[in-house]
């Protein structure tokens, strides 16, 4: 291992490269996370309300849990445009970037896992809670909001934080379709300079800093939730 090769990190161009990569990774994460949590909650509502046969939501969830994430990204980037009509395909090439397709694939994937975590949280609330709330005269929505969901989210919180950590790391798969995120940048630097150790050390530390921050935010949220009990 060559520690003197760490010198490449002093190069301002390399620092700029990593800065841009980090920003892209964070943009991927934030965009996918917002979409994933919203869609995950929507999936649970759909599944529990019976608007659609729950098999439809089930199939969506199972596809995203059982097909490798990298394949899902390829399907969105290379596969879906190919089955579209030629004019749509041209529009997609002109206006939709690899970043867009990465966010679509990542958020659908994470939403499937998140909906399962939320559903298990809701199922963990004893049915008697709902019955008691309704008996006290609360409407269905009110009972859901104040009695069931508030407890369910608290129960599912550790798993939901886990999903956020997983999503942050999964964003690195977007490099396969040419999104210039953190790992793309690391591999580009490795390819250009062969300074393998610093090329991978830097993203390791950046990912670690991000995941530790996420974990801290997660535990703060769980702490404050405990106070309202």
């Amino acid at each position: 291992m060559n520690f003197h090769s760490l010198a490449v990190l002093a190069d301002p161009d390399v620092q700029l490269l990593f800065l841009r990569g980090t920003l892209t990774t964070l943009e991927l994460f934030v965009a996918s996370a917002i979409a994933a949590y919203a869609l995950g909650a929507l999936l649970v509502v759909i599944r529990m309300s019976g608007w659609l046969p729950s098999a439809a939501v089930g199939a969506f969830v199972e596809y995203h849990r059982n097909v490798p994430s990298i394949v899902q990204i390829f399907v969105w980037y290379f596969g879906v445009p190919q089955i579209l009509p030629q004019s749509w395909h041209a529009f997609a090439n002109a206006h939709l970037s690899a970043f867009f397709f990465a966010v679509v694939a990542l958020s659908l994937n994470a939403a499937a896992y998140i909906s399962e975590d939320l559903r298990s949280g809701i199922r963990a609330v004893p049915p008697g809670q709902m019955e008691a709330a309704r008996a006290l005269g609360m409407s269905y929505l009110k009972a859901m909001r104040w009695v069931v969901v508030s407890q369910a989210v608290r129960g599912a919180a550790p798993a939901l934080v886990s999903q956020a950590l997983g999503l942050l790391k999964t964003t690195s798969l977007a490099l396969a379709i040419g999104v210039k995120e953190l790992m793309y940048v690391a591999r580009q630097l490795d390819g250009e300079t062969y300074a393998t150790f610093p090329a991978y050390l830097t993203p390791t530390l950046i990912y670690l800093a991000c995941t530790l921050t996420l974990m801290a935010i997660g535990s703060r949220l769980q702490q404050s939730a405990r106070f309202t009990r």
Binding site: P81, A176, G191, T193
Partner: protein
Amino acid sequence: MKRVALVVLGITFCSSAAWSDQLADIKSRGVLTCGVFGDLVPLGYQDAKTRSIVGLDVDVCAAIAEDLGVKLDLKTVSVDARIPSLETGRIDVMTASLAYTPVRAKQIDFSSAYMNVPVSVLVKKDSGIKSFADLAGKKVSANRGSTSEVFARQKLTNSEVVSFDNGPSSYLALAQDKVQGMAMVKSAAVGFHNRSSGQTVFLDEALFWEHDCVGVKKGEPALLAAVNTALDKLESSGRLQTIWDRWYGQSNEYQLAREKKVTPASEFE
């Protein structure tokens, strides 16, 4: 504690002395450990019928082993493992489509080039792109970690270079118009070109010439000299031409001419 330190030091020195001449080591072992790709047609890949690794790189290394009078031990390597596995001594000589670059030359030594091919840009025929200048403001795909990627980024400064994991992905991006050009060594790109049923065309300009060499660990002058002598002999006997014709010649799908013979490293360093 001091004694332990002395013993450790002693072992370190002994082992470094034992490694000081890799050529003698290879000859005494009677085996040349050769690093090749296992997934790159036609340089090093698994033959579907025999399940053994075959290809141009394999033939070259086998000829070198034959010249040294030792047996050949093939080991497949990944793109990223080529240089580290030479440095750690896991592999004696690397014939895995290893192109010379000044940065790599700081870490390993390069023999004469046994294969010289241009890195070209493939474009869609109907795109109207005729030169590198026409690629300004457009996207160009390249394989991640390849020299084509590095040189494309240096030479096509007005284009955006987007790297993909492998040739098929880089080509698919061109075929689906996600990029307007694909920078790739011509010997690899010609396979995609030939299968595109006339829809693609190479630009005349070359991004640079790629010189594929045999890589050896740094500071092994005897081994390096032996490899160079072997390559010169293989050139003068016509064996290298035969090997080229077997894998790239008129008889198979590539039909690529061998434009340059064995080139000493001094000519491209």
